[in-house]
């Protein structure tokens, strides 16, 4: 009896291992309300130590600040942070690792700064420490005093000070509409701010041979929706004619960007196109399974069923399979093809895949 056949496990695994089910909409709220236990972040203690030492340094720095006639707008000390700010700046604190001591101050200072507010210099009250992780361009502006600081990559960190609320504007040059502006009202002496920006890098348009797959990719972002239904950051398409694919990328905070990919299909270059399904039911549509390609010098193709029985074999690209096997038509299900071919330039290729028979 075939029942104990091991293939049955493989059959179910193939279909169900990556099977997805959409959870009910309120599930996350339930999880959030079930009090996720908080674990300690190891860095906290070191941060306190650093902070303590830093307060001392900061005091000295501020003291000398008043003494010096020349007011430097940039403070190179990255460790000015007070433990009291922990709550509002959870993100920021966590980015402070002990290795920040070694941060090259030359790199951490804004590449270009423009300061038009002479009166802020005497009483430095607010200092913004900013960590730009992903923006290629960032602008920090103090609205009232029109203090604008532009920061350019590869800058990792900079320290800016001001008496007034700070506006941080981060813009992404590649996607004009993606802009984030945040206001930080700060009445503490020293504060750290993390600017987490939305950045998306789209891949190039593609030129493929007929029958070849094109891989379209987006770097970064969190949610993706392609017009072919895919929701991953990477989709594989096999167009048979010049096609445009549109992707919408969002970052979970409402920022989004749309991009169009053009995939040009060259029918003159040779790759083998093999359909992924066919319907041998004699209705005149898709009744045959056939490889297509122009300029193929030679080809050999096999089709196997799940047990590994060869159900079809051909060495002629013009041959097609009508689904017949042992005097009948095979049942619906998954089959596997293996094709070896030599393209017009004489290169050998092997193409393998699955074909679904639907009756």
């Amino acid at each position: 009896m075939k029942s104990t056949n091991k293939n049955i496990g493989q059959f179910f695994k193939d279909s169900l291992y990556n099977y997805e089910v959409k959870p009910d909409g309120d599930l996350w709220v339930k999880i959030e309300n079930s009090n996720i236990p908080k674990h300690n972040v190891n860095n906290y203690t070191t941060i306190y130590k650093i902070a303590a030492s830093v307060v001392v340094i900061a005091t000295i720095a501020i003291a000398s600040y008043f003494a010096l006639p020349n007011n430097d707008k940039i403070i190179n000390d990255n460790h000015v942070i007070k433990p009291e700010n922990q709550e509002i700046n959870k993100d920021a604190i966590s980015i402070l690792d002990s290795d920040e001591k070694s941060v090259d101050t030359k790199n951490s200072i804004a590449a270009k700064e423009e300061i038009k507010s002479p009166q802020t210099s005497l009483t430095p009250i607010v200092k913004i420490k900013e960590n730009i992780t992903s923006a290629s361009d960032a602008e920090i502006k103090d609205e009232q005093n029109k203090q604008v600081v532009e920061v350019k990559k590869p800058i990792e960190k900079s320290v800016i000070e001001s008496q007034d609320p700070i506006f941080v504007v981060v813009s992404e040059p590649n996607a004009e509409d993606v802009k984030k502006e945040e206001q930080y009202n700060i009445d503490e002496e020293v504060i750290a701010v993390v600017v987490d920006t939305f950045r998306v890098k789209f891949g190039d348009n593609q030129n493929v041979c007929f029958g070849e797959d094109a891989i379209l990719e987006v770097e970064d972002g969190y949610f993706y929706r392609w017009n072919d239904g895919s929701i991953s950051n990477r989709t594989i398409v096999s167009p048979t004619e010049n096609s445009i694919y549109i992707v919408t990328v969002t970052d979970g905070k409402g920022n989004s960007a749309i991009h169009e990919y053009t995939v040009n299909v060259d029918r003159n270059c040779s790759a083998l196109f093999i359909p992924s399904a066919f319907t041998p039911n004699s209705d005149g549509q898709n009744d045959y399974f056939k490889a297509e390609g122009s300029g193929i010098i030679k080809m050999r193709m096999f089709v196997f069923d799940k047990l590994g029985n060869k159900v079809f074999e051909t060495t002629n690209i013009d041959d097609s399979w009508d689904g017949s096997y042992k005097g009948g038509i095979v049942k619906s299900g998954m089959f596997f093809y293996h094709a070896e071919y030599t393209d017009a330039l004489g290169y050998d290729h092997i193409k393998k895949g699955q074909v679904t028979v639907i009756r």
Partner: protein
């Protein structure tokens, strides 16, 4: 996936925004895992919830050496098994002939087999068969591991697997699928 490392890092810092992102990224696939262990979606979602709470509270134990998805998946499987645990001792005492009959008349017609149908087949297995089949065939556990997890002997695991396959084959035959 570019953001996995960042997700893990931020979740280790209890960042709620990233916890939500992690949930959104993995929930559908993990619910797909839990669904195989229960007969209805509500039970599976209970397991999923409990699993995610475990993921968040234990995430600092995750070392970035292995696959993160694999780690989450393991938590989901263990959580699902835990929910079955109190009933486990009954599962392996069910009279087999009885259950065979129960399945036989659940004939439904399908145009062609969908993944959803395959899930339903697994869900319709008696719980004892279902757990062993899932663990062995889909999760890839060994009979020894299954025995330890479920508190049964290796031989019980083997015989349950054989019966599960048999039953699934019967169901497939109804749908004209011959493996």
């Amino acid at each position: 996936m570019t953001s996995e490392r960042k997700l893990v890092r931020e979740c280790k810092r209890n960042n709620p925004r990233f916890q939500k992102l992690l949930f959104e990224q993995y929930a559908p696939k993990m619910l797909g895992v839990c669904m195989r262990y229960f007969q209805d979606k509500n039970e599976a979602q209970d397991a999923l919830m409990e699993g995610f709470v475990k993921v968040f509270s234990n995430i600092e134990k995750f070392r970035s050496e292995g696959s993160f998805e694999g780690w989450i998946r393991k938590i989901m499987v263990n959580t699902s098994l835990n929910m079955h645990r109190k009933n486990l001792k009954h599962y392996y005492h069910v009279d087999i002939d009885e259950t065979l009959e129960r399945i036989a008349d659940e004939r439904q017609t399908y145009d062609h087999l969908q993944v959803e149908d395959m899930l339903k087949m697994i869900q319709s297995l008696p719980a004892g068969y279902r757990l062993v089949f899932n663990l062995y065939e889909i999760e890839g556990y060994s009979h020894r591991e299954i025995g330890e997890q479920l508190g049964v002997s290796e031989n019980t695991s083997k015989s349950q697997l054989r019966k599960a396959r048999l039953k699934l084959q019967q169901m497939l035959n109804i749908h004209n699928i011959d493996l």
